[in-house]
C-alpha cells in the first residue's frame, strides 16, 4: 500500500506543488506525521504544524497561502476535508479483502449462502440461515437458526446472533455484540421466587445499521425489538426487549434502554444515558451524557440530569447547587438580621 503524490493528485483532481514522485504508505495527523506519511491541513488552528511537520505529502485547500517555506510536497484540492474522506475510503479499499468459506467453519446444509461471501474459521451458521451476497462473517461468530443477513453486511469476530434475528443490508456488527438474547422478564411467585416468562419474539435490524462492540440487544417477549434504518449504536449499549429505535438515531457508548420503550428518529444520546421502560421518546430528542430518563419526552427536547429535565434549566439549577454553601449562609444571615430587626 504505497502511493505517489501523482497517484493521489490524479485521484483527487488536485494540483501538486513539489515532487510528484514522493511516496507515502500511511495517513497521519499533522502533529504526529513523519516521513512516509500523507497528512492534511483542514483546521486553520493547525497551520503552524505545516512548517515543521516531517510528513511527505500534505493535502491543503486550493487557496492555502504559505507564510513560511514549506518543505513537503503539497497537493492542493478544492476542499481538503472532503479530499481526506476520499483518501480514507481509498485506503480502506486497498486493504486485502477476506474471501471464501473456511473449511474450519460449520455451515448447516440447510443454510443458504449468497455469492462472494467470507465465512471465517470457527464460525457457526445454523439451519435455514439466509446470508446475502458479499457478506463478511469473521471467525468465531454464532449465527443461530433462521437468521437472515442482508447483502454487504459485515459481522466481526465473535458476534453472537440468536435464532430468528433479521438483519438488513450494509449493516456492521462489531466484535462481541449479542443480538437476540432473552428479554429480562420474570413473574414473581408467592414464595418470592421468580418464574421466567418465555421470550418468543425476535430482533429486527433494518438496513445501514452499525452496532458497537459488546453491545447487547434482547429479543422481544412477543413481537420484535426493532432497530430502524441508519441507526448507529456505540459499544456496550443495552437495548431491552420490545424496544423500538427510530431511523438515524445515534447513541454513544454504555447507554441503557429498558424494555418496551419507543424512541423516535434522528435522536442523539450521549454516553451512559439510561431510559426506563415503557416510555415514549419523540423525534430529534437530544440527551446529555448520563441523563436518567423516567418519563416521556416530546420531540425536539434537549434534556440533562437524572432525573432528566430541560437542559438549560438543569444547568441553571446546577450553578446554584455548586454555590449551595454560600446560599445557605445568605439564609443564615437573613434570619439573624430579621431577628435583629424584630428585636429593635
Amino acid at each position: 500500500m504505497e502511493f505517489t503524490a501523482k497517484h493521489i493528485a490524479d485521484f483527487l483532481n488536485g494540483i501538486i506543488e513539489g515532487d510528484s514522485n514522493t511516496k507515502v504508505n500511511r495517513i497521519s495527523k499533522i502533529e504526529e506525521a513523519s516521513e512516509g506519511s500523507l497528512t492534511f491541513l483542514t483546521n486553520p488552528s493547525y497551520t503552524p504544524y505545516i512548517y515543521k511537520t516531517n510528513a511527505s505529502i500534505v493535502l491543503v485547500d486550493k487557496d492555502f497561502k504559505a507564510e513560511q517555506p514549506v518543505n513537503n510536497t503539497l497537493i492542493r484540492v478544492d476542499n481538503a476535508y472532503n479530499a481526506l474522506a476520499q483518501v480514507l475510503e481509498l485506503y480502506n479499499k486497498s486493504k486485502p479483502e477476506k474471501k471464501g468459506i473456511s473449511s474450519m467453519a460449520y455451515v448447516s446444509d440447510l443454510a443458504k449462502i449468497g455469492k462472494n461471501c467470507y465465512i471465517g474459521e470457527f464460525s457457526y451458521i445454523g439451519d435455514n440461515v439466509e446470508i446475502g451476497s458479499n457478506v463478511k462473517i469473521y471467525p468465531q461468530t454464532f449465527i443461530g437458526d433462521n437468521v437472515k443477513i442482508g447483502a454487504k453486511s459485515i459481522v466481526y469476530a465473535g458476534v453472537k446472533i440468536y435464532e430468528n434475528t433479521l438483519i438488513g443490508k450494509e449493516c456492521t456488527l462489531h466484535a462481541g455484540a449479542v443480538l437476540g438474547s432473552d428479554g429480562f422478564g420474570f413473574a414473581i411467585q408467592t414464595d418470592r421466587n421468580y418464574k421466567k416468562i418465555i421470550q418468543t419474539g425476535n430482533v429486527v435490524i433494518e438496513d445501514y445499521v452499525e452496532i458497537g462492540s459488546n453491545t447487547t440487544i434482547d429479543r422481544a417477549t412477543i413481537g420484535s425489538t426493532i432497530i430502524k434504518k441508519g441507526v448507529k449504536l456505540d459499544n456496550l449499549i443495552q437495548v431491552g426487549h420490545n424496544v423500538i429505535i427510530g431511523e438515524n438515531t445515534v447513541m454513544a457508548a454504555q447507554v441503557g434502554i429498558a424494555g418496551s420503550t419507543k424512541i423516535g428518529k434522528n435522536c442523539m444520546f450521549g454516553g451512559q444515558v439510561g431510559i426506563s421502560g415503557h416510555l415514549n421518546i419523540g423525534d430529534d430528542v437530544k440527551m446529555a451524557a448520563k441523563s436518567g430518563v423516567g418519563s416521556n419526552i416530546k420531540s425536539g427536547e434537549i434534556i440533562m440530569g437524572s432525573p432528566a429535565i430541560e437542559a438549560n434549566n438543569f444547568k441553571k439549577s446546577y450553578v446554584h447547587f455548586r454555590n449551595f454553601e454560600k446560599l445557605v449562609k445568605r439564609i443564615d444571615e437573613l434570619e439573624k438580621e430579621l431577628k435583629n430587626v424584630k428585636n429593635k
Copy 2:
C-alpha cells in the same frame, strides 16, 4: 409449528367460539397481530383492538363480553394471562431441541459429561469438568478446568467460564457472559507501579440463576464470589471479587458492584446502579435506576440518587432543585426587602 384452535383449547381447558379448525403458527400482540397469529386480551385497555385485529385466534377471559361483532375465533379460558404463559411454554417446548456432542467441539478426556447433553461446535471443555444431565452448551463456549455445571442448565454461545467455577442446576447463562475472570486487585508500589495480587478464589453460582449477555462476574481473591439461588442478573452487569448476592435478588442491566460487598435477598435494583466495595446491603432493598451507593443500606429501604438517599427525600429535594432559580430569586427579594425595612 402449527396449532389448531381445538389443539389449544384442549391444552388450556378452554371453550372455542368460532371455527375449531382455525390454524395459527405464531403468537403476536393484539395491536400487531395478523392472519395466522394467536393473540390474547389480558389488559382491558386493549379491548378496542379485539374488534379490528386480524388475528386468527384470540384468548379471552371466560366472562369477556363483546360489545361489537368479533370476527376471530375466540378461546375462553379461566384466566387469559395465565393461559398465555402456558401457551408460551408450549411454544418453547415445540422448538427443535439441540442435541448431541459435536465432533467439532473439544472435550477433555478427563471431563465427565452427563446424559442427554448438547455440546455445540467449537466449544472447549477442560480437564476434570463435570457437566450434569440435560445441560445445553451452545457453540464457542469456554469451560475451564474443574468447572462443574448442574443438570438442565443452559450455556449460550460464547460464554467464558474460568477454571474452578461452580454452577448449580437449571441456570441460564446468556451469550458472552464471563464468569471467573480475575478480581481487580493491585498493590501500589513505591515507584507508583501496581503489582498484581494473585486471585486464587472462584465463582459459585447456585441453582436457578439467570445471567445476562456480556455480564462479568470476577473470581474471589481468596474464597468465593457467590450468586445465590434464584438470582436474576440482566445484561452488561459487573460483579466484583468476593461479592455475595442473596437469594432471589434481581438486577436490571449495567449495574456495577465493587469488590467484597454483600447484598441481601429479595432486593430489586434498577439499571445502571453502582455500589461501592466492602458494603452491606440488607434484604428487600429497592434501588432506583442510576442510584450510586457509598454506604451500608438497611433491609427494606428504598433509595435513589447519587449518593443515594431515601427515595422520597430525594424526590422532594429534587423538586426544589428543579425550581432552584425561583428560590434564589426569593432569597434575592428577601435581602432587598430586608434592606428596605432596615433603612426605614
Copy 3:
C-alpha cells in the same frame, strides 16, 4: 497441590509452632477456613477468629501473642501480609501450565510464534502476526492480521483483537475484551443519514497493562489509541478512538471515555465514571465513582458529581441538597415574618 507446614515455613523463612507435617491444599479467609485450609492473620480486628478457626495452618506475625489456646499449627513470619502475597504467588505457579499450539487452532503460515507459547483450541492467528515468547493465548481468541503481542502476555478466552493492534510484554487481557473495533465516527448528511468515517488507525497497548473482561477499546480514526505502561482497566470499560491513557492510571469497572480525550498518569477513577471527548485530564487526578466529566481537569484534582466539581464542594452542596425541604421551609418562614415586620 498439597503443601506441608514444613514446606511453607521453609519457603517463607518462618518458624513452625505445632506439627510440621500438617497438610493444606487451599488458601482461605480466617472466617471461612476449614480443615485443610492455610489461613492468615494480617488484620488485628480478625484476631478472635484465630481461637475458633478450623484452619490447619495459620500465618501470623512473629510477635503475635495468643491470649487463649490455639489449636492450629502456626507459622510465624516477619510480616504475615507479605508472606501471604508470596504464598499466593507460589499457589499460582503450582497450577498446571497450559502449553503448546493446538491442532484445532488456526495459525496463518505468515504468522511468527515465539518460543514456549500456548495457543488454545479454536483460536485464530492472522497473517503477519508476531507473538513473543512465553505468550499464552487461550481458546477462541481472534488475533487479526499484523497484530504484535509481546513476551509473557496472557490473552484469555474469546478476546478479539482487530488488525494492526500492538500489545506490549507482560500484559493480561481478560475474556471477551475487544481491542481495535472501529471508532464511533459518522458525518451527518443533508438527508439526516450518517456516513461512516473510515477508521484507519490502530490501538497500542504498552507493557504491563491489564484489561478487564468485555472491556472495549476502539482504534483511532487516524493515528493510535494508546494505553500506556502499567495501566489497569477493570471490566466493561469503554475507551473511545484516539484516547490516550497515561502510565499507571487505574480505572474501576464500567468507566466510559469518549473519543480524543487525553488522560494523565497515576490517575484513579471509580466505577461508572464518564468523560466527554476532546478533554485533557491531568496527572494524579482522582474521580469518585459515577463522576460525569465535561471539562478539562488539572493535575492533582479530586472530583465528584455530574457534572463533576471539586469533591469537597460537591459533598458540602449535597448535604444541603439532602436538607432542601427544611431550607425551603426556612425561606417560607422568612417571607412570612418579613411580611409581619413590614405590616407592623
